[in-house]
C-alpha cells in the first residue's frame, strides 16, 4: 500500500477515489451550496443547518463517541473536531459572520488539503448518533458527517464497497454480493436438508417468490453467504408456526434488504428504495419483514414513510424480531430455555435501537429462549455502536480494518467481555460481520450469533 496520508494514519479510500492531487475546491463548494438549498436537501436540511450553526464547541459530545474514547481520546477523533472540518468551511463560505471575521469566529477558507482530509474523516464516524444524546442541544455530529459524505459523493468520493459493490450491484444484480438465482436456490436447498436432518420428522418448506404471501421476509444477502445459521433459524421458525410466508430471489428483483445509499447519498438511497418498491409491487405481501439487519430497518421501516406516499407502499413493514415477539406473545412458540444454557448477551444495534425504537422485543425473545441472558452495559439507547455502522463493516481495504479494530472494536470487545457471556447476539448482519472481525482480531472465543438461530434452537417439537 502506498497511499498518501490525508487525515490520520489510516485510509479507507484509495488515491484513485480521493484523487488528492486534483483541484476540487470549486466543485466541493458547489456541491455544499446545493445541499444547503431546500430543493436539493429535501431530507435533512433543518437538522443539518441547526447542527452547523448552534454548536458552542463545548466538547460534551466527545465522551459519548466510541471513536474518541476507543482511540485513547485523541482529539482528531472527537465528534466536534471532525464536524468542525465541515463547519469551518460552512462558516467561511456560507455565513456573513464567517466571511467578515474569518478565523476569529472559527471560519476557514476551504483548501484542497481540507477536502482531502475530510474525505477520510467522514469515514471515521459510523453515524451511530450516540453523541446526540450527550449534546445539551441535541445536535447531530453524525448527521454532519453523513452530509459531508453526500457532498463528497457528488465529487465521486465514495468507497467502492458502498457504491459500486453495494448500491450498483444491488440494483443490477438483486443483491450487493451478486448472488445468482441458482446459487441462492442451492443455498436454500442446503438449509432445508440440514434442518430436516437435524429435526427428524419435520417437513420443511422454503417458499421463494410466492406472490401474495402474508409475510415477505427480505434478508441482508450477506446472511446467505456468511450467516447461514440465521437463515436456517428463520426457516425453522416460520415452518414451526406454519405461517404463510416467502423469501424472494433475483427473479423478482432486489432480494437484499440493504440500502447503502443511506450512508452517503439521498439520491442513491431513493434509487434503492424504488428498486425495493418495484420488487414488493410484484410480490404483493401484506407485511414486508426486514430480516436481521439494522440500517435497512431504518430505511424500510421508517424513512420510506417520510419519502414515499402511502399509496405506493401498500404493505406494512416490521423487523423480524417484532414478528418473533408477536409469535411469542400469541403463544405459538413452545420454547425450552435449557437448550440454550450458555450465558448470552445482546447488542442493541444503533439503527434498530437508538434510531428504530426496538429495545424490548429482542429482550423478551432472549429471556424466553435462553437460560442465562445478561445485559451489557451501557445498553439500549446508550449502547456503543459495534463499529460496523455507517458502512464500516464492509470497508476492508487498505488499513481501514485496523482503524475499526483499534478504536470501536477495542471498546466494544471490553464491553462484551465484561458481561462474561460466551455468546453475543445481535439482530443486524453488519453488526455480526463487525463482531466476527473483532472477535478474531482480539482472539476471543465469544460466539457471535443472530437471534433467529438462538430462538430456533430452543423450539420444542
Amino acid at each position: 500500500m502506498n497511499l498518501e496520508k490525508l487525515f490520520d494514519e489510516y485510509r479507507g479510500l484509495s488515491d484513485a477515489k480521493v484523487r488528492p492531487q486534483e483541484p476540487k475546491v470549486d466543485r466541493f463548494l458547489k456541491a455544499f451550496r446545493e445541499i444547503l438549498s431546500k430543493e436539493n436537501n429535501w431530507a435533512f436540511l433543518l437538522p443539518l443547518k441547526l447542527s452547523l450553526e448552534a454548536c458552542t464547541h463545548c466538547g460534551t459530545c466527545a465522551e459519548a463517541c466510541p471513536v474518541y474514547v476507543g482511540s485513547g481520546r485523541q482529539k482528531i477523533y472527537s465528534p466536534l473536531y471532525r464536524a468542525d472540518l465541515l463547519r469551518k468551511i460552512y462558516k467561511k463560505h456560507f455565513t456573513w459572520s464567517g466571511k467578515l471575521f474569518g478565523r476569529l469566529v472559527g471560519a476557514k477558507e476551504a483548501t484542497e488539503q481540507d477536502i482531502n482530509a475530510l474525505s477520510e474523516a467522514a469515514y471515521r464516524c459510523t453515524i451511530c448518533r450516540r453523541c446526540v444524546l450527550a449534546c445539551p442541544f441535541g445536535l447531530d455530529n453524525g448527521l454532519i458527517m453523513r452530509e459531508a459524505r453526500k457532498i463528497l459523493a457528488e465529487l465521486g468520493i465514495v468507497p467502492d464497497e458502498l457504491k459500486e459493490e453495494g448500491v450498483e450491484n444491488q440494483i443490477n444484480f438483486g443483491s450487493a454480493p451478486k448472488i445468482p438465482y441458482d446459487a441462492l436456490i442451492n443455498i436454500l436447498d442446503f438449509v432445508k436438508s440440514e434442518i430436516e436432518e437435524n429435526r427428524k420428522n419435520v417437513n420443511v418448506e422454503i417458499p421463494v417468490d410466492k406472490v401474495g404471501a402474508k409475510y415477505l421476509i427480505i434478508n441482508n444477502a450477506g446472511d446467505y453467504l456468511s450467516f447461514l445459521d440465521t437463515i436456517r433459524g428463520i426457516v425453522e421458525i416460520m415452518n414451526y408456526v406454519n405461517e404463510d410466508w416467502t423469501f424472494n430471489s433475483p427473479k423478482t428483483g432486489v432480494f437484499d434488504n440493504v440500502n447503502y445509499g443511506l450512508f452517503y447519498s439521498d439520491k442513491d438511497l431513493l434509487r434503492v428504495i424504488k428498486a425495493h418498491l418495484e420488487t414488493f409491487k410484484k410480490l404483493k405481501p401484506e407485511y414486508v419483514v426486514v430480516g436481521e439487519c439494522g440500517h435497512s430497518y431504518d430505511v424500510l421501516g421508517h424513512l420510506i414513510k417520510d419519502l414515499i406516499p402511502p399509496e405506493e407502499r401498500p404493505f406494512k413493514v416490521i423487523h423480524i424480531v417484532e414478528l418473533y415477539d408477536k409469535f411469542l406473545r400469541e403463544g405459538r412458540l413452545r420454547l425450552d430455555k435449557d437448550k440454550n444454557p450458555a450465558p448470552v448477551t445482546f447488542h442493541d444495534s444503533c439503527k434498530i435501537g437508538r434510531c428504530g425504537g426496538i429495545y424490548d422485543e429482542p429482550r423478551r425473545v432472549l429471556a424466553a429462549s435462553c437460560k442465562d441472558f445478561r445485559e451489557m452495559f451501557p445498553n439500549r439507547e446508550y449502547n456503543y455502536c459495534c463499529g460496523g455502522g455507517g458502512g464500516f463493516a464492509l470497508m476492508n481495504k487498505y488499513n481501514f480494518p485496523e482503524f475499526r479494530m483499534k478504536t470501536y472494536g477495542r471498546l466494544k470487545m471490553e464491553q462484551v467481555k465484561n458481561t462474561g457471556a460466551s455468546t453475543l447476539v445481535t439482530i443486524c448482519a453488519n453488526c455480526k460481520r463487525q463482531f466476527l472481525d473483532t472477535v478474531s482480531y482480539y482472539n476471543s472465543s465469544i460466539n457471535v450469533s443472530g437471534l433467529s438461530e438462538i430462538l430456533a434452537n430452543s423450539l420444542v417439537y
Binding site: K38, N41, W42, A43, F44, L45, L46, P47, K49, L50, S51, E53, A54, C55, T56, H57, C58, G59, T60, C61, A62, E63, A64, R73, K75, S78, L80, Y81, D84, S97, R103, L104, V105, G106, R129, V132, L133, A134, C135, P136, F137, G138, L139, D140, G301, H302, L303, K305, D306, L307, K316, I318, G353, R354, C355, G356, G357, Y359, E381, Y382
Partner: protein, 227 residues
C-alpha cells in the same frame, strides 16, 4: 460628557440591544421553523405528542441529561452557571415591578457567585480541556460575561448603587420615558458589557433557547412506530 455617556449607555443602548436581540431571536426562530424536515430521525425513546415533547424539553433544560451522563464537570459548571444566571436575571427583572425584595441581597450574592464560578470554570475548561474547540469569539463571549458578572457581584455586595435609582431607570425604559441611569462608573461598565453581550450572542452562535427547542424537538419527535 459624562451625561452624554450615561445617555448613550443607559438610554439609547437598551433600545438598540432589545431590538437587536429580539430581531435576531425572531429571525432565527422563524428561519428554522420554515426549513424543511421531511425526514424524522428521532433518537428513541421518543415522544408521541407535542405536549410530552415540550414537557421533556423543559425537563432536559434543567436536568441536562447528556452532560450529566457524559461529562460531570460541564454538568456541574453549566448547572451552577445557569441557575446562578436565572436567579440573578430574575432579581434584575423584579425592577419591572418593585425596587426591593426580601432576602434579595443574600440570594442575589449567592446567585452571582454561582454564575461567576460557572463561567470561570467554562473559561478554564476551554483553555485546558482538549475536547473543546475555542476561537476568539468564544473567549470574547466568556470575557464579556465574566466582567459583567463580577462587576454586578461587586456592586451588589458593596451596595454601591441605590436600588430605587435602578428601579426608576428601568421603569423609564419600559414606559418609554427614559431617565439617566445611576451615575456610577462601575455600574455603567456593568450595563455596557451586559448589553454588548446580549447583542453579540446571536451573532456568535445560535441563541441557546432556539437551539435547544429545535434540536431537542427533532430528536424527540416520534418516528413511525406501530405500537
Amino acid at each position: 460628557m459624562y451625561d452624554f455617556t450615561l445617555f448613550i449607555i443607559g438610554v439609547v443602548l437598551p433600545y438598540i440591544m432589545m431590538a437587536t436581540f429580539g430581531i435576531a431571536l425572531g429571525y432565527n426562530f422563524f428561519k428554522f421553523m420554515f426549513l424543511p424536515r421531511p425526514v424524522m430521525w428521532a433518537i428513541f425513546p421518543a415522544k408521541k405528542n407535542l405536549a410530552s415533547i415540550f414537557i421533556t424539553i423543559g425537563k432536559r433544560i434543567f436536568s441536562l441529561p447528556g452532560p450529566r451522563k457524559f461529562d460531570k464537570l460541564i454538568f456541574t459548571l453549566a448547572w451552577m452557571f445557569h441557575i446562578g444566571l436565572i436567579v440573578s436575571l430574575s432579581l434584575h427583572a423584579k425592577y419591572i415591578f418593585m425596587p426591593h425584595l426580601p432576602l434579595e441581597y443574600e440570594i442575589g450574592s449567592a446567585a452571582g457567585m454561582f454564575a461567576a464560578i460557572g463561567s470561570f470554570g467554562f473559561l478554564i475548561r476551554r483553555i485546558y480541556d482538549k475536547k473543546t474547540e475555542s476561537y476568539f469569539s468564544d473567549y470574547l463571549a466568556l470575557g464579556l460575561l465574566i466582567v459583567t458578572l463580577l462587576l454586578g457581584q461587586y456592586i451588589r455586595m458593596f451596595k454601591l448603587i441605590d436600588s430605587i435609582q435602578v428601579w426608576s431607570w428601568i421603569q423609564g425604559i419600559i414606559t418609554l420615558n427614559p431617565v439617566l441611569p445611576p451615575a456610577d462608573t462601575l455600574f455603567l461598565i456593568h450595563i455596557l458589557f451586559a448589553q454588548v453581550y446580549m447583542m453579540y450572542l446571536p451573532f456568535k452562535t445560535l441563541i441557546h433557547p432556539i437551539a435547544i427547542f429545535y434540536g431537542q424537538k427533532i430528536i424527540l419527535d416520534q418516528r413511525h412506530i406501530r405500537r
